[in-house]
Amino acid sequence: MNPQFIMDGLIAGALIGLGAIGVTLTYSILRFANFAHGEFLSWGAYLALAISGSIGFLSANLTKPIAPFSFGWSLPIAALLAVLLTGVLALALDAVLFGRLRSRGGAVIILVMASFGASLALRSLLEFLFTSKPAYYTKALQIAVRLGGGLRATPDQLLVLGVTLVVVIAIHLLLTRSEIGRSMRAVSENPALAGIAGIDVRRIIRFVWFIGAALACIAGIMTGLLVQIRPYLGHDLLLPLFAAAILGGIGSVPGAMIAGLIVGLSEAAAVQLVGAEWRAAVSFVILVLVLLLRPRGLFGRPA
């Protein structure tokens, strides 16, 4: 078996892990499986595309590729703005839809259903605005460099791995060392008690939406950079995201990241062993195995 699958799996897994962190955080604080999370990836990717396109329109200088990478400064600047905007999108969605349903105190599954409807509307809206034709941030081609051990990667791919590492460490520190991270864990354990202890639960919920959407946006942009940007980008990643969040254990950030890597590596291995057309079934197999053998996941608390 070609060792290159390790590299492909790590990259795919890093992106799945980033998205899964958002799923697992919203799941543990808001207590529902958000089917619209995949759309945050797609929207992030398209927002960055639109912004970097307009920046390039203003100053062609900014689209010149930065040395080993395939994109110019317009993309990182656009990425920052897109992260903010995707966060705002999530907050808006919470304000008009989820927040209202929550305050009505209905069953959890109504929230799941609403997220299902929202994901349909958001995805088709992208298809309406940008059509379903694939788009790219840059037309530049990249040559993969040898890394030894039979592995190759393009500079863009190495950058994606580096960015993921930095972001995940930053999120982990934020959640474990900062005041707001402690409040988040308190809310996820027991929202009522946390409220009594003086934690502003609404602020925590807004924070979680923002962080989850921001991570999704980063994952979406990097997926768009390495593969292509399509309206179905997020939808196609949704099952891997759920599989990773459940395998890692709901609420566990390191778990989601490690599980994301496991899902990514298994997908890459399956592509080599079984064939690329079965790639999408790998997450389902993992999901079924986890639910059968260890429903609380690798690092999850027992239900």
């Binding site: 599954i109 939808h235 999901l287």
Partner: protein, 319 residues
Amino acid sequence: MSLDLVAYGAFFLTMALTYAVMCLGLNIQWGQTGLFNVGIAAFVAIGAYVSAILTTPDTPDRLGGFDLPIAVGWLGGACAAGVAAWFVGALTIRLRSDYLAIATFGVAVTVQLCVLNLQPLTGGPFGIGFIPRPFNSLAGDPLAFGLANLALMAALVLVLYLALQHLAKSPWGRVLRAIREDEVAAQALGKRPIRFRLQAFTIGGAIMGLAGAAQGHFIGFIAPDNYLPILTFQVWAMLIVGGSGNNRGAILGAIIVWGIWALSAAAVSAFVPPEQQARAAALQIVMIGVGLCLILLLRPRGLVGERRSMLSLGRGRKS
């Protein structure tokens, strides 16, 4: 001209009624039991494909083609979808309520993949054609053919409706509602929620499979594209519009939503220039999604809704 219109009306209503059957299946799962199924398309596809493989004449480039009667196909499709639903339910119903949703989503993705890739069995992207149609001897006369099929489908919906209505009123249906409203109380009375939920999920899945089989035989051709996630959305919109928990609402919702869908699709193809049609179709789907959310927000009971039972008067909703 008017005869054409009647023939078209019969075709439209027959299609709407196949959706009504799916809706009735979903109503057992969601309306009566509160089980969230995001993989309706998968169970419908299983029913359609199993039935098609059982009843089509023997074909050299494809496995199967057993040339069995249509009734056997319907039954086989329903059983296969029921078995699939049982497996998914057995795996997830004892866990958190949204794990079932995620698992059914996974089933939808996987069934779509299998249908596309198991070419020797399913014909791959080209699907299966020449599925025997009921009343094929009447095919020369479109009007008689359409009306006969409509009568068959209406009879199927009526029989299912009466059976489900009876089931809902039976002790079994009462237990289901009791579990949905207050699981602990039902447990205290010696009812085992997991077993009842699993039964409801399996019956619902089987009905969806039956709907898939019936639809496949009516159209005479099936392909993976018929079973995309949008089908799941449509059936959900139908049940939510009609009012979940109410079998009459499920049928009514199916006819209304299918009507709106067919009319707006006709409007798109009539008034929108060809190069913009894909975009307009996307906007049509945005409408369904927004509509679903709006109904959840504004009128959660739907058009007809369930007659509230005594249990709900003092309900404390559980998450």
